[in-house]
């Protein structure tokens, strides 16, 4: 809630919100929420109106097109409805003590770069979902090999074409799906495995702890590159394999963090109370310890997504990334690296996309850390 002007309320505010969701919030001083809502509304509306045909066709097309159409329509509805509801709310500044989470949310929203990062990430995932509607061409469509290769920025191809006369913008959009997916799933895997093992090690202690930590040491000390290259060379480099391998080599750091948190939580009263009450160990771990240890894990996870996306680019450099013709940002940067002098757009745009995405994830992660760690708040 802002400390300044109260948002427009009542019929006036609602009427404005019905036409231009997000505007009343913006006018009322809540820049973040207002900008996000306004952007989302105008963006989705523009896509819907300029591509009405495609939307209609998509509703009966392949699953990803249907998902895109559904996202578009659902998004429009949700944004409009939220803005309508929010414009009619009454605001009272809270003077009573606020909860930990509220404090965290407030600190986070005050951090402008973090909020900007969050908006960018939201936009990216939204675009990834809406790609079948937005992309001007299919990603693997080859144009005329003699005349349309390496076309620069032009009206027909806003971001140029590549070695096979394929549109870079479309490939960028479809590549977003792959890169964001790999990042998200790999980190999900590593966070799940790491959290579980770390919590078990920290809480149970003793031999189990020692064993798990030795295992962590082995994985950390293992030359990751050797493992990656050999595994991907042994089996075919599919998206599934890449994601699995990236996830399974990143869990040790999460495990260590969680273990550290659990070690300190273990001595707290609420845990002792739970033990006294006779709760089983798994229950204590899952329902009491892990939720309280999640703060640093969340931070590590957001940073991890960024790392994974960059790692995927590195794998492409070694020839082990996502296999052609499937586009991913990493493979696109790598494919363009022999043409940097002449067809600079091949590497630059996916490279900038990676930078923007990873940057946003990192800013959000930093913001989360500042917000969730009580020692860092001013």
């Amino acid at each position: 809630m802002s400390e300044g002007v109260l948002p427009a309320r009542g019929r006036g505010g609602r009427a404005l919100s019905a036409v231009l969701p997000g505007a009343p919030q913006l006018l009322g001083g809540r820049v973040g929420a207002g900008a996000a809502a306004l952007l989302a509304w105008t963006g989705l509306l523009w896509i819907g109106l300029t591509r009405a045909e495609r939307v209609r066709a998509a509703l009966s097309g392949p699953w990803d097109a249907r998902l895109a159409a559904f996202t578009l329509l659902a998004g429009l509805v949700v944004v409009w409805a939220w803005s309508w509801w929010d414009a009619g709310r009454r605001y009272r500044p809270k003077t009573v003590a606020v909860s930990q989470w509220e404090l965290a949310v407030r600190t986070f929203s005050r951090n402008r770069t973090a909020v900007a990062g969050l908006i960018v990430i939201g936009a990216l995932y939204a675009i990834a979902l809406l790609t079948p509607l937005v992309a001007p061409y299919p990603p693997n469509l080859q144009g005329n090999l003699v005349t349309e290769r390496f076309v620069g920025l032009s009206a027909a191809h806003p971001l140029g074409t590549d070695h096979f006369a394929r549109d870079v913008l479309s490939r960028l959009l479809y590549g977003a799906r792959i890169s964001l997916l790999i990042g998200f799933v790999a980190v999900a895997i590593s966070v799940s495995v790491g959290t579980l093992l770390g919590a078990v090690a920290g809480f149970i202690g003793g031999l189990v702890d020692a064993a798990i930590m030795r295992f962590v040491d082995v994985v950390i000390s293992f030359p990751r590159l050797v493992l990656l290259i050999t595994i991907i060379a042994l089996f075919e480099p599919s998206i599934f394999l890449i994601t699995a391998v990236l996830g399974l080599t990143q869990w040790p750091s999460t495990a260590r963090i969680v273990r550290g948190e659990v070690l300190s939580l273990r001595e707290r009263e609420f845990v002792q109370a739970a033990e006294a009450l006779g709760y089983s160990k798994p229950r204590i771990i899952l329902r009491h310890l892990i939720p309280n240890a999640m703060a640093p894990v969340i931070v590590a996870a957001t940073l991890g997504i960024g790392n994974t996306i960059v790692l995927e680019a590195g794998l492409s450099f070694l020839g082990l990334g996502v296999q052609p013709p499937t586009p991913s940002w990493g493979t696109m940067v790598d494919a363009g690296r022999g043409n940097l002098l002449d067809a600079w757009w091949l590497s630059t745009f996916p490279g900038l996309a990676i930078v923007l995405t990873v940057l946003s994830f990192n800013l959000v992660g930093d913001g989360l850390r500042d917000a969730l760690d009580p020692r860092l708040r001013s």
Binding site: Q142, L145, V146, R149, F150, H163, F164, I232, A233, L234, E236, P237, G319, L320, Q323, P324, P325, A335, R337, G338, N339, L340, L341, D342, A343
Partner: protein, 570 residues
């Protein structure tokens, strides 16, 4: 901050000691430690005895850079790599004979030679004015030693040159006197070709090494001692090779080369290579990609050399697979691919469409005999229909009478953009004639295993490339007797081709061989074991300050003795 800066400087100073002196990182191997001083001593003597002539062309350093290291270095008995062989042939060692620009065999280390009437004895007369870089004279014993070594199965000599038609082992060679040696062989065509690429090795240094250990001997990469126009100075792994001019090179062959020093640098990244060429840190860039050619042409201080090379890119068809067993299908696949367009688009015109394994500059090449299966989708469709493949269920992919779809995979190795291009373009173009192609990328080592293992042959089509010698011999590729050997990818069993291949290998006279070659090229077109794609042009970026550079199908380093640097730009 000041402290940190000091650290950086200290690091720099401290690391200076690593690259000590002109010799670079010294080898700790006792063999090298013994040999190198002798080379230095002899070279010092030779420099005194043969002062540099008073000609402004003498002097200067040329830096050549390429993407790969020279594996196995100058050890001619164990290396198969192109760059290595080029350096052995032209830079550090001397083969017995050479090719002239017209591809006629001419003397080099051998002054002259004779062949017996029945073609089974080849006598070489070795020059008497050639010395190894450590002072020993090169003689027939070295030739005999080299021959015994490369024909000894324990050495595992990777070049096939001597494996057919030559008598192997000690029985195949006889030393008549210090400068005359006799080689025994079966009568066959182009028998001198093998000797154009084999650098003769020094017996006095390597004679005692057990052949099986030869591949690990430090001679190749740490202290090669040759007898060629350039003397080895140093080799820093994955970084550079340095050679100096040999003042003792025979005057009859031109005496010492013009250059004082020749450096070969290894730079694994193409953009970096181009940058170094454009900023004049390197003089010659070996094999830039066609996309980089225009930049080189546009630069006023650079020149692009361009010649047809004796390698060709192909898609090999596994005729053991039911979809590919019929030659008509294979011909249809070729006709369904617009190879002209691919050369135009991918190679930017730097290539020639290939229709057989005979390169266009070769004496055996007959443009009239070639049957070009030009791009003709209509005819391709007709052929497929004729062979019994039509689209019976309307899904865009043809099936045969048993319902087997004409769906094939084309494998190619990861990390090679060009081969990926070929596979993907074929996919798009063959879809038009009702063939479903799936490009499949496989890591190189794994791919080689899949296609070379006779019991495996796990592929339908594979994009590969062959580098041929000037002696063309497809026996191992297409002869039915070799069908269980690694290279018989296509699994060809064609008695006509067998007959032609056998005839060609024993016809020594080029005149008489020409009609056979014509027939062979026609037969290949019929059989289509491969879809021959193109002979890529070899490109090289050369700084104009280096004069006298001639590059052709014989290789990039063929004229290195004549390279000289414009005195103004030294």
């Amino acid at each position: 901050m000041r402290k940190l800066f000091a650290w950086v400087v200290i690091f720099g100073l401290a690391a200076c000691g690593g690259d000590g002196g002109a010799r670079g990182v010294a080898s700790s191997d006792p063999f090298c430690q013994e040999v190198i001083p002798r080379v230095d001593a002899f070279m010092a003597e030779a420099r005194e005895a043969n002062p540099t002539p008073d000609d402004e062309r003498y002097g200067g350093t040329v830096v050549v850079a390429g993407i790969g290291e020279i594996p196995d270095g100058m050890n001619a008995a164990v290396s198969a790599n192109y760059a290595a062989r080029q350096h052995q042939e032209f830079v550090n060692l001397m083969p017995l004979v050479n090719y002239s620009a017209e591809l006629e065999v001419q003397p080099y280390l051998a002054e002259s030679w004779e062949v017996s009437e029945d073609g089974t004895e080849l006598t070489f007369h070795i020059r008497q004015d050639v010395y190894w870089h450590d002072g020993e004279q090169t003689d027939a014993h070295d030739v005999a030693f080299t021959y015994r070594t490369v024909t000894n199965p324990e050495t595992a000599f990777p070049n096939s040159a001597f494996s057919d038609h030559y008598v192997r082992g000690p029985e195949g060679v006889e030393v008549l006197d210090d400068f005359t040696v006799i080689i025994r062989l079966e009568r066959h065509a182009e028998f001198l070709d093998a000797w154009t690429t084999l650098g003769i090795l020094p017996e006095h240094l390597l004679g005692d090494v057990p052949p099986a250990r030869l591949s690990q001997h430090p001679y190749g990469t740490q202290c090669p001692v040759g007898n060629g126009p350039f003397v080895f100075v140093s080799h820093a792994q994955q970084d550079r090779w340095v050679f100096d001019a040999n003042p003792a090179f025979p005057a009859a062959l031109g005496g010492r080369p013009f250059l004082d020093r020749y450096v070969y640098r290894v730079i694994p990244e193409q953009t970096t290579l181009l940058t170094e060429l454009l900023t004049e840190n390197i003089d010659i860039y070996i094999a830039p990609s066609p996309d980089q050619a225009q930049r080189i042409i546009d630069a006023p201080n650079l020149e692009l050399l361009d010649f047809t090379f004796r390698s060709y890119v192909l898609v090999g068809w596994n005729s053991r697979r039911p979809q590919l067993a019929d030659a008509r299908v294979r011909r249809a696949l070729t006709m369904g691919t617009n190879r002209e367009e691919i050369v135009e688009a991918i190679l930017l015109g730097y290539g020639t469409v290939a229709n057989s394994s005979v390169p266009p500059f070769h004496w055996a090449y007959d443009p009239d005999a070639e049957v070009a299966l030009d791009y003709d989708p209509e005819a391709a469709r007709a052929l497929l229909e004729e062979a019994g493949w039509s689209d019976r269920d309307g899904d865009g992919v043809r099936e045969n009478a048993d319902g087997l779809p004409l769906a094939i995979s084309i494998k190619y190795n990861s990390g090679n953009q060009e081969r990926q291009n070929v596979a993907e373009i074929m996919q798009a173009q063959l879809a038009d004639i009702g063939v479903a192609v799936t490009p499949q990328v496989v890591e190189f080592g794994t791919l080689l295993q899949q296609i070379n293992t006779p019991t495996l042959r796990d592929f339908d089509g594979v994009v590969m490339a062959w580098v041929t010698e000037f002696k063309l011999d497809d026996t191992n590729l297409f002869h039915s007797e070799r069908i269980d050997q690694p290279y018989a990818w296509s699994g060809t069993r064609n008695p006509e081709m067998d007959r032609l291949i056998e005839a060609l290998s024993v016809t020594v006279d080029r005149e008489r061989a020409m009609p056979l070659w014509a027939e062979y090229q026609r037969e290949i077109a019929e059989e289509q074991p491969y879809t021959f794609f193109y002979f890529p042009d070899r490109l090289d970026g050369v700084n104009r300050r280096v004069r006298g550079v001639v590059m052709d199908a014989r290789g990039e380093w063929v004229s290195i003795r004549d390279w000289h640097v414009d005195p103004a730009s030294r």
